[in-house]
């Protein structure tokens, strides 16, 4: 049986996490198809067709799919689900939104946020904020899965030459309407894809003080992140949140500034290659996972670091 990966996209660009999900699909089996459900999304289908290891791309193009509404997107996936043994989504806001709807309609369990494939029916997933790893086996006919992108190296963006097959797009459910979207415009790399992440915590003290991290992020070409405590306190926007209930990141370099290191935060960044922690509290738990710790006042150390880099 074939495996279906649902493409993550904005109708123009194929989201990077799709290629991580394809990599997980390859670990399960060989015939990997990608569904691009969108509106005016031909370019996305063409990009998916070029991704390595993809043998076929299904393009469902229609107005009901323009904004990724869960009701319509789930219906589109269900329209083709019958031909697949596994249906994979990237563990993104969109994937997490839609996958359980598909699973419930198929009357199967969903396996959330897998970090390893043991076999075609057995997967590893973190529980309790990553403090434990559960190996679970599914007996369901269709396995509906979300894939933690940082756990699978993406397949190459080019090198493939899959055929694009156009399929009928679903019509609108009429139950939900898209009203608007406010996306933060930033020249910085995407948090989940960045090779360097600079994150701030409650130690920054205010939204104003958070700006001290800008020059450091500029210098390192880094994305900015934040602990839940900093988001809670209103110092940083929610989509910067790194942790159990925010984003999971695994950059080459993670710089934690003024972050104490609650387990919920560590859950989101402990797979980073190199971790640097700057905190004035020598007892802070973040030092327990940091490769390099600097016990210092961040308001002195951060500008100094910018100078020295």
């Amino acid at each position: 049986m074939s495996i279906l990966v649902i493409a993550e996209h904005d109708n123009a660009q194929l989201g990077a996490a799709t290629r991580n999900a394809v990599a997980a699909a390859v670990a399960i089996g060989s015939d990997v198809h990608v569904l691009v459900a969108g509106s005016g999304a031909r370019a996305v289908a063409d990009q998916a067709a070029q991704a390595a290891s993809v043998s076929k791309v299904l393009l469902a193009d229609g107005p009901a799919l323009a904004e990724g509404l869960a009701e319509n997107l789930a219906a589109q996936v269900l329209a083709v689900a019958g031909g697949y043994s596994h249906i994979l989504f990237a563990s993104t806001a969109s994937g997490k939104n839609v996958a359980p709807r598909v699973a419930a309609k198929l009357d199967v369990a969903q396996i959330s946020d897998i970090v390893a494939v043991e076999s075609a029916d057995t997967f590893v997933r973190p529980i309790y904020a990553g403090n434990a790893l559960a190996t679970v086996q599914s007996a369901d006919a269709t396995k509906v899965i979300t894939v933690r992108a940082t756990a699978f190296d993406p397949v190459a963006a080019t090198g493939g030459s899959a055929a694009v097959e156009t399929i009928d797009a679903v019509s609108d459910s009429g139950k939900s309407q898209f009203v608007g979207r406010e996306l933060a415009k930033s020249d910085r790399p995407d948090l989940t894809a960045a090779t360097v992440v600079v994150s701030g915590g409650r130690g920054l003290g205010s939204a104003e003080n958070f700006k001290i991290l800008d020059p450091l992020a500029d210098k390192l070409g880094a994305a900015l992140g934040a602990s839940r405590a900093a988001v809670d306190a209103g110092y940083a926007p929610n989509d910067w949140q790194v942790g159990q209930t925010g984003k999971i990141v695994a950059p080459q370099l993670y710089v934690a500034v003024g972050i104490s290191g609650a387990i919920q935060h560590l859950a989101g960044m402990k797979d980073s290659k190199v971790i640097v922690a700057i905190n004035k509290d020598a007892e802070a738990p973040i030092f327990g996972v940091a490769d390099y710790g600097l016990v210092a006042d961040l308001f002195q150390a951060v500008p100094e670091l910018v100078q020295a880099l």
Binding site: R101, A109, Q110, N131, A134, K175, L183, V274
Partner: protein, 249 residues
Amino acid sequence: MKVLVPVKRVVDYNVKVRVKSDHTGVDIANVKMSMNPFDEIAVEEATRLKEKGAAAEIVAVSCGVAQCQETLRTAMAIGADRGILVQTDAELQPLAVAKLLKALVDKEQPGLVILGKQAIDDDANQTGQMLAALLDWPQATNASKVEVQGDRVQVTREVDGGLETLSLALPAVVTTDLRLNEPRYVTLPNIMKAKKKPLETVAPDALGVDVAPRLKTLKVSEPPSRSAGVIVPDVATLVDKLKNEAKVV
């Protein structure tokens, strides 16, 4: 409008769980249990909707062991009017919980179901969406703002890169994110009052739901641990290490 708020009893946010030595699960004996924090936000939001006059009655529901009564009492101390416990000692996975909740929705006919986006024990992030699918209702997950407007609800959602606003026809399912509200402190008089509120107990069988788990947990293990590195004396040493030892800048 009636609002149904499902709440889950989970290991407290501040507890660091330990994997059992036989790898069958995590040790939750004698560990502090609390209401899932996102569900607490859901109860608070329902209570605010009632205070604004948008909701008439709040029904809290919990599925699980007898001690979930405590979780329901907490929900009632925040503002729920009554509680329903679907009592079972069986392991409940998200699909089974969604089916139990659907059976209760069919019976109670709420206009809105509001619950946490994810439980902090299994981290599944599934139940709300599954319930919406089983009911054929619209959904808005990860809500940071909820406004009931006549027969619709407008929800601002936390998505990757920012915010998205949807308008859903009621009845609908909404799941809560962190910034939706800050739950109130539960006061002693409200805890006392909550003890007198009605709490009904039903069995999964009585709702006609098969709760047998679909996923078999083969083992639960410790994640690879990361050991502490070195403490550097100053910024210059840090930069030197990053450049010459780690080679990441």
